[in-house]
Each structure stands twice: as structure tokens, then as C-alpha cells.
Symmetry: C3
Amino acid sequence: MEIVRKNYPEIPVTGSPHFHSVRAGNMLFLAGATAKMTDAEFGNIGEQTDVILKRIQHIMEAEGGTLDNVVKITNFVTDVSAEAKKQTQEIRVRYFGENLPASTRVQVAGLDLPHLKIEIEAIAVFRE
Amino acid sequence: MEIVRKNYPEIPVTGSPHFHSVRAGNMLFLAGATAKMTDAEFGNIGEQTDVILKRIQHIMEAEGGTLDNVVKITNFVTDVSAEAKKQTQEIRVRYFGENLPASTRVQVAGLDLPHLKIEIEAIAVFRE
Amino acid sequence: MEIVRKNYPEIPVTGSPHFHSVRAGNMLFLAGATAKMTDAEFGNIGEQTDVILKRIQHIMEAEGGTLDNVVKITNFVTDVSAEAKKQTQEIRVRYFGENLPASTRVQVAGLDLPHLKIEIEAIAVFRE
């Protein structure tokens, strides 16, 4: 079994020393992702969630899978208004459809930059 | 290898779009769980921990295992008093006995509702 | 497949009921670690990160691997100054070199003790 570390050319490298994903056999571990260095960086939490899930989808496809392979996501948020919750949930359903992952959502004290409202990390498993 | 998403009839569905558990082969990923929509919802952190660990135990048994299969838990808490710590630790030992998981506990800025004091997520592995 | 729970004699047992690591087949789950009960306990975030990564390295070697087997780390921090970020990143690179894990870093409201500035948990996979 190989361990394969990867950055994806379409995804910003933010400076923090890590890889976008690390694959070990049929498991894939995705680093926490924010909207930093994207058009949605200063957007609301819905716009930020959209760009992050699009990125996770991109990684899944680059790895030969789909969002259906994502088994767990963790959502670290700074905006916990009712509207923020509604937006993130709607966008999650738009991306995952019925194949939703197990999910955790907690309010943190802060993310990498003050205007970032959500960071999402994920674990995926591929059917071999 | 199949990916199986599941909700359990005995466990409240809180509205957030996700599944209670997602199983991929011999691994099981459990969504972060709180005491929301249970009798312990407005209870202290000990009562909330009790209902959450009972639920995780229920899921493990429904999946053909026991709490012994839980390898990792993450505890996101809002109450970090000495008494709160003591209560959660005692209840953890009551459920897991000597087969304790690797555990992380951090204080978050908030959970889904202001009166929720702890959210626990878990990863389990089944012996095939 | 066996599930093996372990504490390591060289690593402080802080009192919280859990194991330093739980191994399930080729996967290893490491509990969140802080500098508590080490010389770096009251040090800055760089010193605390150093002692934690040294400990993770120790566990990996005790398990027959290296830091190269670490696929994911989660950094829960309370100090998010630019200097803190720089220090933790430099130390991470010093330990992991080019074999960096997927990483998440979020600011939490607090850790186990007020002077603790970082807690790191990890998942590792061994090539069988």
C-alpha cells in the first residue's frame, strides 16, 4: 500500500505547509479547506461553502471517485446565525444529494483569517 | 466494498442534512452527536454525555459490534469547569470500561444550540 | 484484525481516561496531545508544538513506522498571532520534511489548561 501526497493545480496553495490530500490505499484524507484565495474569500458563508464543496468535488473526481465517496465531513464555522446554517445546509444538499456524509459542525473561535466563515475537512473511502 | 449510510429509528433526526453513520467496509464514521431532542437536552454536561454515549453504544450494537470497536472520539465542549470534566470522564469510563478510545477534547465557541454543552463524534473499526 | 490500545512509558499520562493510541489493523489513531506535564508546558506555541511532534514521532517509531506514516493532523490552537503561525509551521516542516500530512488548523475557545496553546491529534496508516 502506498501513501500518496498531492496538491491539485486548480486549488490555491495557501502557504501553510501541508498537502491538499493524502491517500493511503483506498482512504483519502483531505486537509481543512477555506475560501482563502478564491473569489468567495470575502463572501458570505453560503458562497464560501459553495467554493469549498466544489473543491472537494474536484479532488474526488481527480482521484477517480465522486462526492459519494466522502464518508465524513467536519465543518468548523464562525457564523452560526440561522441564515448561515440554512445556507450551508442547502448547499451541502445541492452537492451531495442523498449521499450525505456523516457530519459534525461546531463553532470555533476563529479560522485562518477574520473574514473566513467556514473550514471543511473530509475523509473519503474508495470502493476498490 | 460498499458504502452504507444509515439513520437509526431510535435516534432523533435533528434536521441537519447528514446521516447518523456511514460505513465503508470495516470502518464506521459517526456524525457529531449532541443531546438535542432528548430528555437530557437541557441537562448538565454529565447528563448530556450519558445520552450521547448511550446513543453511540446503540449504533455500535446495531452494526454488530460494541463500544470496544470505537477507536477514536472527539469531544467538543462548551463547559470546561472542573466539575464538567470530572462528570464527562466518569461517564466515559462507565461506558467504555478499560477499552477506552483515543480521545481529543477541546473547548469550542459554541454548539448547535446555546444549552448544548458537549458534542461527540466517533470512528469505529470492526474486526472482520 | 486486532484492536490494540496503548500508553507509552515515555509519554505523560495526564489523568483523562483514554489511550495515547489505538491501532486497528494498519491504521493508528492518536489522541489529541498537548505539552501538559512536559518541560514546554508553560512555553510558547513553538516550544509546545516541538514537544508534541516529538511525541508523535516517538509513537510512530514505537509502532514500527516514521512520521511519514502520518496522513492527517488536526491542530487546535488558542494563539493565532502571525508569529505563532510561523513558529508552528517551521517546526512542522522540521519534523515532517517533504512528507507533510493533510492538515487542519482552527482556533478553539480553550484547551485543557489556560496556558496550553496547541493540541494536535493525528491519524497514521502503515504500509502492511
